[in-house]
Amino acid sequence: MSGWSIIRLFTIVVYGFMFLPVAIVVLLSFNSSQFGSFPMEGVSLRWFGELWNNDAIIRAFRVSFMLGALTAITSTVLGILAALALVRYRFPGKSVISTLMIAPILVPEVVLAVALLLFLRWLDMPKSFPLLLLGHVIFTLPFVLLVVQARLVGIRRDYEEAALSLGANPVQTFFTITLPLLMPAVLAGLLFAFTISFDDITGTMFWKPGGVETVPTQIFAMLRNSISPEINALGTVMIVLTVALPLIGMALARRMAARLR
């Protein structure tokens, strides 16, 4: 009994240690004073207002959203196609290709980032937004692929064969049968890709062209100058986006999957 109490206490301490800083950032973002110290002097949304008026941050948000959305769409489309090929067809070199596409998860991000950068150097290509996008697609694709593949394996061939036998051609069969049945995984994949892209910093630092900032790199740049309470507000926004979005998405996906059963 007491053994369990100790373990429980220890667990609470460990989680507290991990989440306390996050909680403090969120709390301080509502602080009315310029200086982050406890007890807080008052509650205000002042720093969120400042955020809104900071052009650099708004621009960074725009870049991040654009990048995240494009990454999510590109990765999901590619992920669906790759999953179809890997699950539904047999071709030479299948297992090698499958491993290669999952590999970006296994390789440390810095290594991947440097490798892609060196590759671009070697090709004599300047950094650009499309290349940044390419980088993000490379390391979000495995997540999408794994999620979509897992679901596709569970969709029996029978459904597609029945549709074909009823006169739908393979493309019509994909859009009327396979894709709707795949939808929960597609949604989960989109959200995964978006969030991973949205809060990525390592790869982005290496790949972003000069003058372009995403939200994480913008925070990083701001931290180098001074620690402004604005950063707390920005952190809170980021936490909400990257935690709430996937949670909502997963709940939705689960609801959809239950309906398709």
Partner: protein, 367 residues
Amino acid sequence: MTEQQPAVALEGIVKRFGAVTAVHAMDISIEEGAFVTLLGPSGCGKTTTLRMIAGLLSPSQGDIRIKGRSVTATPIHKRNLGLVFQNYALFPHKTIFDNVAFGLKYRDVGRREITDRVQKALDLVQLPGVGDRHPAQLSGGQQQRIALARAIVIEPDVLLLDEPLSALDANLREDMRVELKRIQEQLGITTIFVTHDQSEALAMSDKVVVMRSGHVEQVGAPEDVYVNPASAFVARFLGNANLIPATVKGRDGDHVIAEVAGVGSVPVPALRAAKLQPGDAAALVVRAERLQLVEQPGDVPEGMIARKATVTAVDYQGQAARYFIDFCGHSIQALNPIGTAPLRAGARVTAVLDSNHCVLVPPEKHP
């Protein structure tokens, strides 16, 4: 009517999977409106054959014709076939109505007509009024009826069914069997039915194709393959048959005389003696239900073969009993209705055999 094309014709169909040959040079011709069953043990190539007809597999060799036109190179969605799977395969994200209407959406059918035809198909399978439910809200038997409705609503040239009843429980299976046959007769639709269940095959078919490891063993009407098996395999696969080693001795009018060790000469109608020649080794097929056990040897009718036998074991089945007997040194079985009481193990009886119901087939090859 002028010369009729077979509804489906397989001409020298071969299917190889790498080194495995699943179907060897198969020739089948199926008339319009017939109910044909592909029957055989697991792995004999029934599904492979059906999937080739459906267009889900392409044959390694040979030609498939539907209504006289070669479809070997036609993709499945252009073959106009109805396909019913063992697991129903109803689209889980669509309502029953949309499931049944699915095939009509890819044909030139107006909205009103779609509604009418779906309604009619649902009536036919006796499930009107389930249109706005989802498949998960129906029982297995109901789902299989919907799957059937979905396949026939498009008025396919051929209906293909792969073990459609085997996922249902025993009682339901028998009901569905009758139901399926009724619908098939009502529509007059050419049907190819795959099963490994001999009673399904015998009960439903106009023609049974008995298959064994990728070969066709025998094709014929149900009574034909049951009463007149062409091989030891067919005899064993259908019903409960005893195979007793024999030798062909010669001919006597329209009978072939078989010599069976311990029993003596057994005259078998020449029609039931395959193409065996005098001197050939053979197997005498004795249906268990054709071997009658009597306790009083006095009342043996003329022309029957009666020999002493001993009951070694009894398998009581309620309305009948299966007796394991020692018949002139051969361990065989007899299936008899029960009179007042079943015979006991150890009983000394007379086994009476009408040799006109026996069949001579080439002996089983023991690999």
